[in-house]
Symmetry: C2
Subunit: 514 residues, 2 copies
């Protein structure tokens, strides 16, 4: 089935196109405009909450924006669109303009690079260029960057909870249709070491990982060879990758003894088994007991892969329980947790608890005429947090004396951002302070061009590896309170005097001109 019409330049909302045509009719379609993409609140998973997000999706969105075209199929679909009373929705002149511009090349995009920590209410993407194109790209930009950022954030939290333990992404079966691939990629950016998704893993240059499922054991049971027959078959085929799922019948009574028997056979044949997988029951308790059994049988290096409904909170609890329970089995808790590997699926790939990032895309400035001066744009609201911060802005991250990030500051692009700086709460008037003792002021927005290069496996892998380096560097510079998995400290997001005063003036004008 050809989904190209749905996935190309028409992967947008209808009103973006009707507005674009309106701008064209009014002669505003090529007027330079500036939009900002930001999210309003961090994911809240119910029992736990994020205090930061990890930006992701840029490489794929950039490639999408660079390559999609208003081609013949797209224009024909729009040409055929009729109102209920039979009129064409889109004028041939407007379609001619779309045909002429072809795609989104005329837009200039800046972004906080993939892998970096991003905060609520701070622009993470900026689009500047012809109004009509900047309008049409709203939906695909939000769709692609919101989702990968959401999943990368969840994956980063899972990685935090695993504290150095390997994280494998296993979520395709319950992930959202072909959004599964974006979820796997975002998980690789945010915190997973590898994914089980075959095609996606090869596409982005990481080898896919996997073991075996209950079905293998069931087949051998139904045919009379039993669980141990399945284990032997696996070990025979993959002697250097023997990782056995031990819970099909009974983990401790059946699965573990069978696995150990086969491990001994594998070793006798000159290979070293990799480990076991636990997929049900009290994973923490079973980890401790299985660890003890593996040690006693002479396999102290065998890994224990855990799966079944894991998320950051479950992993955190498992690690705590192992710490409490291991000593009663005569084990060192750190030795047990060091052998744990986390297979995380559904809850990471769907951001269970909060499956959408509320990213928005707001007009902040438009030129008064072609090549004219920039006019800041406002949207007022009775809810202070929903009043747009106007104007062409830059974003600076300010680091304190200990090298930790202390605030993200929105300033006008023409402003020099340096300490001491007097700043205002991003939404609540009257909350202001002066930031002093600054070790570094870093500009977060970068041109998007880097993202839209190389999408061969090498380029894809390099993009992910570069994002991971940025992620680790940013996480290391976050305050531990902001990193907290539950009820995190709220990071400071501020406006300079100049932006604050512009906002106050525009709000007053909008309300006066009712």
């Amino acid at each position: 089935m050809d989904r190209s019409l749905a996935e190309g330049a028409l992967f947008t909302d209808q009103y973006q196109l009707t507005m674009a045509q309106l701008y064209w009719k009014d002669g505003l379609h090529e007027r330079p405009a500036r939009f900002e993409h930001f999210f309003r609140r961090y994911p809240d998973y119910g029992r736990h909450q994020a205090g930061y997000c990890i930006a992701a999706g840029h490489a794929w969105f950039g490639e999408w924006a660079r390559t999609v075209r208003f081609g013949p199929a797209e224009l024909e679909a729009l040409r055929q669109h009729r109102t209920d009373d039979g009129h064409r929705v889109f004028d041939e002149g407007f379609l001619g303009w779309l045909d002429e511009v072809g795609g989104f090349d005329a837009l200039s995009i800046e972004a906080v690079p993939e892998g970096r920590v991003v905060h609520a209410n701070v622009p993470m993407t900026i689009v500047e260029g012809p109004l009509a194109l900047a309008q049409i790209i709203e939906t695909p930009l939000l769709n692609q960057l919101n989702f990968q950022t959401l999943i990368a954030t969840k994956a980063s939290r899972v990685r935090q909870a695993a504290r150095g333990g390997s994280v494998l992404e296993f979520g395709m079966r319950r992930a959202p249709d072909q959004g599964a691939n974006a979820a796997s990629r975002a998980a690789l950016v945010g915190g997973a070491d590898f994914s089980s998704a075959v095609g996606l893993s090869h596409m982005v240059g990481f080898p896919p990982k996997g073991t075996h499922a209950h079905a293998l054991v069931q087949v051998h049971m139904a045919l009379g060879a039993g669980e141990i027959g399945a284990f032997r078959s696996y070990a025979d085929a993959y002697p250097d990758d023997v990782l056995l799922l031990v819970d099909t019948i009974d983990t401790l009574q059946v699965g573990m003894p069978n696995a150990i028997t086969v491990f001994e056979e594998v070793r006798a044949a000159g290979h070293e088994p990799v480990g076991i997988r636990l997929d049900s029951g009290d994973l923490a308790h079973l980890s401790v007991v299985a660890s003890s059994m593996l040690d006693e049988a002479g396999f102290p290096d065998a890994s224990i892969v855990l799966s079944s409904g894991l998320d950051e909170l479950a992993i955190w609890q498992i690690r705590n329980q192992v710490r409490d329970e291991a000593p009663s089995y005569g084990l060192d808790p750190d030795t047990v947790t060091r052998r744990l590997v986390y297979g995380v699926g559904t809850k990471m790939s769907t951001s269970d608890g909060d499956p959408n990032l509320d990213g928005v895309y707001k007009l902040v400035a438009i030129q008064s005429e072609e090549a004219g001066d920039w006019r800041p744009a406002i949207k007022v609201s009775d809810t202070p947090a929903k009043v747009v911060n106007p104007g062409r802005k830059q974003v600076a991250r300010v680091y304190g004396e200990r090298g930790k990030a202390v605030a993200d500051v929105m300033a006008h692009v023409d402003e020099d951002v340096a300490a001491p700086m007097h700043v205002h709460h991003h939404a609540t008037p009257g909350v202001a302070r002066t930031i002093t003792r600054v070790s570094e002021v870093e500009h977060l927005l970068e041109p998007f061009t880097a993202a839209v290069q190389a999408t061969d496996p090498d380029g894809q892998r390099e993009a992910i590896e570069a994002a991971r380096i940025r992620r680790d560097a940013d996480i290391a510079r976050l305050d531990p309170g902001v990193l907290r998995l539950v009820n995190p400290h709220v990071y400071h997001v501020s406006l300079t005097d100049r932006i604050f005063e512009m906002k106050q003036r525009l709000v007053a004008e909008a309300r006066a001109n009712r």
Copy 2:
């Protein structure tokens, strides 16, 4: 960017391929096997819960299964996959077999058709055929059917809450990457009348719908023409589709008076305005007041489109509040609610509250040898609900004397299902009853072939329209208690004596043969 490697035949988990190769090495790869797909629990959104699901995704999954191929790119990716110590993961002989079978054509698939009501623990899809292929298709089947069923279910609940009011799907901006298209399609199957997604809507043969956004008003405000300038521009371009977003500055003080002014101009020019959109504030209260203003201004037929965080519970509450509040404005509540249209986005497209359906895919039978007898397969567990119901089964829906569905019954394919029937709880031994007074016994599983036909816009539209007819018929035959949006009654799911006894025997054997 070419995502075809990630979206084709390798859109699966790595362990499916390593198991398939294992079956090939053991000579079991072409052994006929039977797997069942079912979900274990209905979505639970936290404050509300589903008592039924709507099956969806078949047409797209069927087309995927019919067309993907183990082609040169797929085989080369598998050929290049090496273990850490440099060995090839996949044997050339196994790749040769994949090349030879080419795709999934050898599998026979049955399913409960799209649009039909489906229940927890009842097989909704059955795959029978060569073991290795049936194994590999597990992940893409689960991925595609789980997600669309999840979203169609949410959309059906939204439709229930709207009680005849139009439902528009607006969710792309926060939907999961290109899973957004599957979400829009599933919403059209489950309960949305139209979608805002442009390409997808054209692809499936429904015209996309949309109005305008705040940006249009902001542009005109920034350039000095104000909100009314934006409204006039819109009305001038789309005189027969004037639907104005009235909350950019202040809904009742500014937006409504401006909209009514423009409505009068539109009417004076010989056109009839369509309505307004409310996107913030107390939507129920604003609906009543706006309704009153529109009536007084002589626009009693103008629609009121509501958007902003809607889901089934929000819509239900809005309708209740309108019922309570309309009389105090001298309005008939039904007149107000009849003009409401619901624009539902994020929460429907991501199944907010429960973003994944726990669909599983379990081996239930395998032939003892090529063309041999079928052996039922079991998976035991300490959790009764996780013990697989074994054997080659059919599914019958039993209707009572009032014509309402009273139970879904799993029976052996060779059994005759007729009343009176003695049945057992699907998971809990010891809970049994006899069903009498049956008006109809209906077989739910149908061959999948219908789904894999025509995927041109006509075929796509026909598939959705047919699914909607099945949906409405099934919803009409559900007990109101099962339809309840909050804390629904649990529908009966049962096993015949024959399946129950087979299950007890296999569990005992598995436990005895430890």
